[in-house]
Amino acid sequence: MFEYEMAMAREMGTDARQIERGLRQGDVALLQALVEEYQYRLVRYLIYLLGRRDGVDDLVQETWLRVLERGSSYDGQSRFEPWLFTIARNLAFDQLRKRQALSLDTIDCTNQGAQADPPVSSAPSPFTLAARTEDAERLALSLQKLEPIYREALVLRFQEDLSLQEIAAVLGAPVPTVSSRIHRALATLRLQLDGGDHEA
């Protein structure tokens, strides 16, 4: 077991160093390979973070362009995924801030206190559309209602398999905070599944 873990760590270290070297040199071929490898995971992370599908593709593209431009800041000491998700997260929050600023501007311009945000769509949530199992269908509604910080903790821990320390680095939050977000998110979803069972 120990040898296996050591081998994994060595492999991870080599990968991270290769990526670090490639990014420092602005190796586009390496980046294209990374895009292919991480495309689905990045899309999934951003959907969990934003709770919607629109705008995610643009953010994915912006994330990779940022990776190209700021590649030299990846040190290769830790895994690539947390660094990638941190970039995507920062861009997503920048976009949200811009949208909110735009909304406030719109309110100021019209001076009518009208809703600046687009009306709530009646289209099914991305989670409902993506649910492939019965349990996932039950969880979809709760996931949509869950706050982004909790959804984010869930996807990073259980889908991306990041450690609590890595998640803390992505979120810029202490490990106990990350841990408590995971507990709360799980508790909420557990209630949903239990409720579904009882209804059934």
């Binding site: 899309v43 559309l129 993506a130 969880l139 259980f158 889908q159 490990v175």
Partner: protein, 162 residues
């Protein structure tokens, strides 16, 4: 079993599911789960949620990867050309600096000799050197680094910084 003991184990289960549990806690939890149906159910519900999260499959636009690759190529070319212009700028500044220093050095060290050799007044030669050599290279040294900023349209300077 006392309810507070269940609560304690539920906390350990939460920690276990989040991956935040010590080996000792994990061991005691395993023993407890074998004997306690209530906590076992709590644990199963948690693992069911986690496996339920794996039941989502998000659709990805098949053209996304090609679009990202193209955008990366374009940006890489832009960065490369920006890097080359910066390099060129540095070289021009170095040349201008060398010309300014060499011109000044010649004026100070060999001005009189050169004036006598050419048969002109030293002050006249100095004026010529300043007008046609030292002055232009000095202005090139001062102004050239500012050229990119002066030539960039103002809307780009405000920056859609990434």
């Amino acid at each position: 079993m006392k309810p507070d003991r269940h609560e304690m184990f539920e906390q350990v289960i939460d920690k276990t599911l989040a991956g935040d549990v010590s080996p000792d806690e994990e061991r005691s939890l395993r023993l407890h789960l074998e004997a306690c149906p209530r906590c076992h159910e709590y644990f199963s519900a948690g693992t069911r949620v986690i496996s339920g999260l794996g039941g989502f499959s998000f659709a990805v636009d098949p053209g996304l990867q090609a679009r990202v690759s193209t955008a990366l190529l374009v940006r890489a070319q832009q960065l490369e050309s920006r890097r080359l212009s910066r390099k060129r700028l540095v070289w021009i500044c170095i040349i201008a600096l060398v010309l300014t220093v060499v011109g000044s050095f010649i004026d100070l060290q060999f001005g009189r000799v050169a004036a006598a050799f050419l048969g002109v007044q030293p002050t006249h030669l100095r004026q010529e050197l300043i007008s046609y050599w030292i002055g232009p290279s000095f202005w090139l040294l001062l102004l050239f680094p500012m050229l990119p900023a002066l030539l960039t349209p103002s809307k780009n300077r405000k920056g859609n910084a990434l």
